[in-house]
């Protein structure tokens, strides 16, 4: 086991029971939400998981948080297998992996004050029992999350804050436990473009000041270029391409990644460019296409794509993609 | 396909609920101490032979169910008893044959007494439901459409007041009012009217129905108004109403084509849930106006401690409500495409 990789995911699968198609039908159907995903994370590294809705990225984040049990595969944290832990064993671990959710309007309890919200993780874990120490940690987390001066916010309620401020409160509530990994599930997609930048900047700052590794989940490749070290592109429950940020954004090899990059809106009419617009929509993860799962929408698919599932092809030490056209 | 599945599920569920009611009914009348038949058996003044005679007369000599001599759990009986020869099985068999026992009071079969009364109750509830739903829907639509105007406020306040009225008390008030206006106050028909031609008989029944139906309508109309209003308010705030408005449809077209059906759906659910409660209203109304329905039967049976009638009426009402509830569910499934085609 590579000690450098303090979080490692191997062959992770999560199938949800989708019920039977008919009343007395024998075969059960499954949603293949996450279907054989492997990757690893180094200390204070930022990895971006990119994909459209239905690609399994949110299920993956719940699996990593231990909020869902994987069907198969394993997750290692600091060399320890944490795939199937009892809730009592997991509690200690939860301090080290914290999560930021998509919708800051939904992820704060409207009846709690900001102080109660940020203090709650300390209460749950019974740390910093001394009031002074607790207040110090709360204030520190708030200021690190950019809620300055902290006193102003303490007794307010979430509805008195703007969307960006709320997302900062969520981040502060995660920071208060001094985690080592921050799992950010679409933290900016509900925010206006102008606010997105400051939240992304905040996350980028945190990995430097607090040495936090960030798993950044998003559907928007355009927003990852600024601080991700590595990018993994997901399609229908599987990683189809993974590599460093520059490798994926500048030399994409998988046709899906190429298409995703081509449709990122460019804010300059003089740079209007050719876009690869895929037809149709991501298929239902109940009926995953045979062969390469991307072939029905792939603009460059060839005959064998219908039959064989492409293996992951290593392109460099850090870069690999799962496409039959790359197999030589 | 899925529609059939939902239907079968509901049907199975209704049947299960009916079975539950039947079992509940059996045990209620055997666990609770009130039934004079069993009270008589325990009377210390009776001779042993007399007790034995009573036990055989009421079937109490048989074990309650297989393995149990009585409902006292310590009194375990032999498990070799033929299950067909237990009190419970005999009760179920009788029920299936439509036999509900003999009235203590009139010595007539309970089934006969109730059979003639069931339809009177159905008539009263049917007429009352139709009227209160119609009025409730109309009031509710106007209140929601003219929200925050005098029309709206008066509809809401009137509805809240109607909701707060005890049914039997309103019935008594209307009885007073009716007696001053020459309306018939009691019963279903004028004595001797059966000699009249059919049309006049019906008219006679109709006049007798006025006060009970009016009571029923006032009591339940308020609730339907409030539900229709809030449901329509929700629908009218939806984006698709704005779409309809943007399409250039007139207010009337929007209400008719986009709002009413959507708003009626929650109402159908409430009507289904409410059926059990509306029976309560019918009992009180029948008691006051001596309307010869199941409610009056219950009222009289309570006064006379006529337990076989009470037991029979309860089972019959429960089954009828469960059945009506099933029909309401079916209607809902039929009306809402989201259920059919998921």
């Amino acid at each position: 086991m590579n000690t450098e990789h303090f979080l490692e995911v191997r062959g992770l699968k999560k199938y949800f029971d989708a019920g039977r198609p008919r009343l007395f039908s024998r075969e059960a159907r499954f949603v293949h939400a996450v279907d054989d995903v492997s990757f690893s994370l180094r200390h204070s590294e930022v990895i971006a998981l990119v994909g459209e809705s239905g690609c399994g990225k949110s299920t993956l984040s719940l699996l990593l948080m231990g909020l869902e049990e994987p069907t198969e595969g394993s997750i290692f944290f600091e060399g320890r297998d944490i795939t199937h832990l009892k809730e009592s064993e997991r509690k200690e671990l939860r301090r080290k992996i914290q999560m930021v959710f998509q919708d800051p309007y939904e992820s704060l309890n409207p009846t709690q004050t900001i102080e109660e919200i940020i203090n709650e993780p300390l209460l749950v874990h019974g740390i910093a029992k001394d009031k002074r120490e607790r207040d110090e940690r709360v204030m520190k987390a708030m200021e690190d999350a950019g809620l300055k001066p902290a006193e102003v916010y303490l007794s307010r309620f979430p509805h008195e804050l703007s969307g960006g401020q709320r997302q900062r409160v969520v981040i502060a509530a995660a920071l208060v436990l001094e985690p080592e990994i921050l799992l950010a599930d679409e933290p900016v997609s509900m925010l206006d473009v102008s606010i997105r930048a400051e939240i992304i900047n905040l996350l980028a700052e945190l990995r430097i000041t607090r040495q936090i590794a960030v798993i950044f989940i998003t559907h928007d490749l355009g927003s990852v270029g600024f601080f991700a070290d590595r990018v993994a592109v997901m399609y229908l429950g599987r990683i189809v391409e993974i590599g460093t940020m520059l490798e994926v954004l500048e030399k994409p090899k998988h046709p899906y990644t190429k298409a995703l990059i081509s449709v990122i809106p460019v804010p300059n009419p003089r740079l209007r460019h050719e876009r690869i617009i895929l037809q149709g929509e991501t298929p239902n993860p109940i009926d995953v296409p045979k062969g390469c799962r991307f072939h029905p929408r792939c603009p460059v698919a060839i005959a064998i794509c219908k039959d064989s599932d492409p293996p992951s092809v290593t392109l460099s030490k850090t870069h690999s993609a799962a496409c039959l056209l790359l197999v030589k | 396909m899925n529609r059939t599945r939902t239907l079968l599920k509901k049907l199975a569920w209704s049947i299960f609920t009916i079975l539950f009611v039947i079992v509940l009914n059996f045990f209620l009348f055997r666990v609770l101490p009130g039934d004079p038949a069993r009270a008589g058996v325990r009377d210390p003044r009776l001779k042993k032979e007399a007790v034995e005679m009573l036990r055989v007369r009421f079937g109490l000599d048989k074990p309650v169910i297989n393995c149990f001599e009585s409902l006292n759990p310590i009194k375990l009986g032999s498990c070799t008893v033929n299950p067909l020869d237990t009190q419970f099985f005999i009760y179920v068999r009788n029920l299936l044959q439509g036999e509900l026992g003999i009235s203590y009071h009139t010595n007539r079969p309970v089934a006969d007494i109730l059979a003639e009364r069931l339809w009177n109750t159905v008539l009263l509830i049917g007429a009352g439901q139709i009227l209160s739903i119609m009025i409730g829907v109309v009031f509710g639509v106007f209140a929601a459409w003219k929200a925050r105007t005098a029309i709206d406020y008066s509809a809401v306040i009137t509805s809240l007041m109607a909701w707060s009225l005890p049914t039997f008390w309103l019935a008594i008030l209307l009885l007073f009012w009716g007696s001053n206006n020459g309306l018939p106050l009691a019963g279903k028909a004028t004595p001797g009217s059966s000699a009249l031609p059919l049309l006049q008989q019906w008219a006679d029944i109709g006049i007798h129905m006025i006060l009970p139906t009016l009571t029923y309508t006032i009591i339940y109309m308020g609730e339907y108004t409030l539900i229709m209003r809030s449901s329509l308010m929700d629908v009218l705030s939806e984006d698709y109403i704005l779409t309809a408005k943007a399409k250039g449809l007139s207010t009337f077209q929007i209400l008719k084509d986009h709002a009413l059906k959507n708003a009626m759906l929650p109402l159908v659910t409430v009507i289904a849930i409410n059926l059990g409660f509306t029976v309560a209203g019918a009992i009180q109304i029948e008691a006051v106006f001596s309307w010869p329905g199941l409610g009056l039967a219950i009222f009289e049976a309570v006064g006379r401690r006529d337990f076989p009638v009470l037991q029979g009426a309860f089972v019959l009402i429960a089954i009828a409500v469960i059945f009506a509830n099933f029909l309401a569910d079916l209607t809902y499934n039929y009306l809402d495409p989201r259920v059919q085609t998921e």
Partner: protein, 641 residues
Amino acid sequence: METTIKVIEPKNQWADRLLNFWRVFSKSRIGIVGLVMLMVIVLMAIFAPAIAPYDSSSSASVEIDDIYNPPNSVHWFGTDDAGQDVFSNFVFGARVSLTVGFFAAFISIIIGGVTGLVAGYFGGRWENVLMRITDIMLVIPDLPLMVVIVALTQPSLLNIIFVIGLLGWTTTARVVRSQTLAVKSRKFVLRARAVGAGNGHIISRHILPLVMPILVVQGVLVVSLAILNESALSFLGLGDPTALSWGQMLNYAFGRGAMSIGAWWALLFPGFGIVWVVLGLTLLGQGLEQVLNPRLDTHHLLPGRPAIQRGHVESRQAKGALLEVQNLSINYINEGKPAARAVEDVSFTLNKGELIGLVGESGCGKTTLMLSLLRLLPSAGQIVNGRVFFNGQDLTAISDEELNLVRWKEISIVFQGAMNALNPVRTVGDQIAEAIIKHMPAIDHDKLQVRVIELLDLVGIAADHKEQYPHQYSGGMRQRAMIAMALACDPQVIIADEPTTALDVMIQAQILELLDSLRRKLGLAIIFVTHDLGVVAEICDRVLVMYGGVTAEYADVDTIYNEARHPYTQELLKAFPDLTKPKKKLSSIPGYPPRLEALPAGCRFAPRCPAAFDRCHTEQPSLSEIGEMHFASCHLIEASK
């Protein structure tokens, strides 16, 4: 910035919250009336011995003349069948009715609350079993069952309380369960679990505080139902003979000839007591509901406010323009509060076949502006100045009937969330056809069907989806269907209000391409509303940047992206992630857009503007022309001129 960390003072938060609650509740007139009505009866019950002129058991010395005396100066409410003082019995009866009501409701609320909470929170097998039981109990008619049980046991007060309590919890269980489910599915519960909180913590800190309001309202309702049930049981002859409740009084009076004697007082007053209490509780419940679960009683069919014109406005349309908006200002009127100036003095022109982008952050008045063009504003919104010219007609001044001929026929809208903008219980084809029938009533059935299929084909939906309902469509298909519907009557203008915001990038690209190609094919003019400058750059001819309800900058698309003059436009562009120019840090605009009801005195962008100077904080800049077809409102530009 001070570095000393202040110790947070422990505050009495519960007292604070209670006081806060009272402040809001006291504004609910209906709730206060209900509370007062209830308190009157509760006080009467508590001080019954002091109020009642006679002891309730003083019937020993009753003479035959005392029976059914009408109300007089000695017996205010008259006497009953036993010669007792009705007023005294009425006062003491309140005790019985309230006792039964409160205790029975207490039992119901506890059982129903726990059942609903456990079923909703833990789900799975627990939920199945508990909800099945609840469903059975709900279907079985409750009064007949109560009658059977009370008749079989001793009709004592205690039995009645237990029977009503044990049978009256079903609706509470259902209500609590659905509320628990709703709260549980919210993200903050997931967040608490991710932090490591156990079930006990989550239930007490997150679920209960949000279920409580519903439970309180439900509790008030259950008390009133219990009182009604007690009176019905008593009236049917199953009351406790030793405790004279109002229902019991009515039972005696009705059963013992009050009707035939005409002793209306023996029947009127006890019933009046029941109505009083139940109405009080009902009003209190309504008041609490208004405060605890506030709903806006507004909807799209409330009459709009007529447009008003103040000041000098050009009242003719410029030649050649298809749609011209002149100095449009819109306020939201809130009772007792200053009007919110949502849109102020916005003008723009749309020519045939043109695509204009309307850009701004949320809350900057974009949607308000678009809705006002077809007078679709919510009832609080009012056009307080300006005109909207379409083909020479002032849309702010024509009648509703005339406007209905323009709506959809000439100008149609593609709304943001197609899921909500389509009626869920009508097929998509039917909803498209409806628009055609409205504006071409003479069209025959076959032609109509052909046209619907043609429209669906135009947006890339196969004809066999025509008879499907919106929920059977995917997100992208719904937005396509919405576009097909917008095209139904061959309009000249389409307003697309954030049509791609909720969609994935690939679907967004598909929709943008579709709109662009339709515009070229059909010569449509489109107003495209978005908060995303990147999207605008791809397809628009001209861009109007709004900030806080006013025009910040208005120019053709190339100028906006390459020669923007307004600091807001410049900052917006800098904040945009741009793959083609990699850099490590994104620039962001500090602060947040202003709240419309508390706008700054000077320039609305001044508090966030990196270049603001004194004048910006005191004086609002006016829109000035800086070049050909390039306008901006900024003091800097005026100063540099």
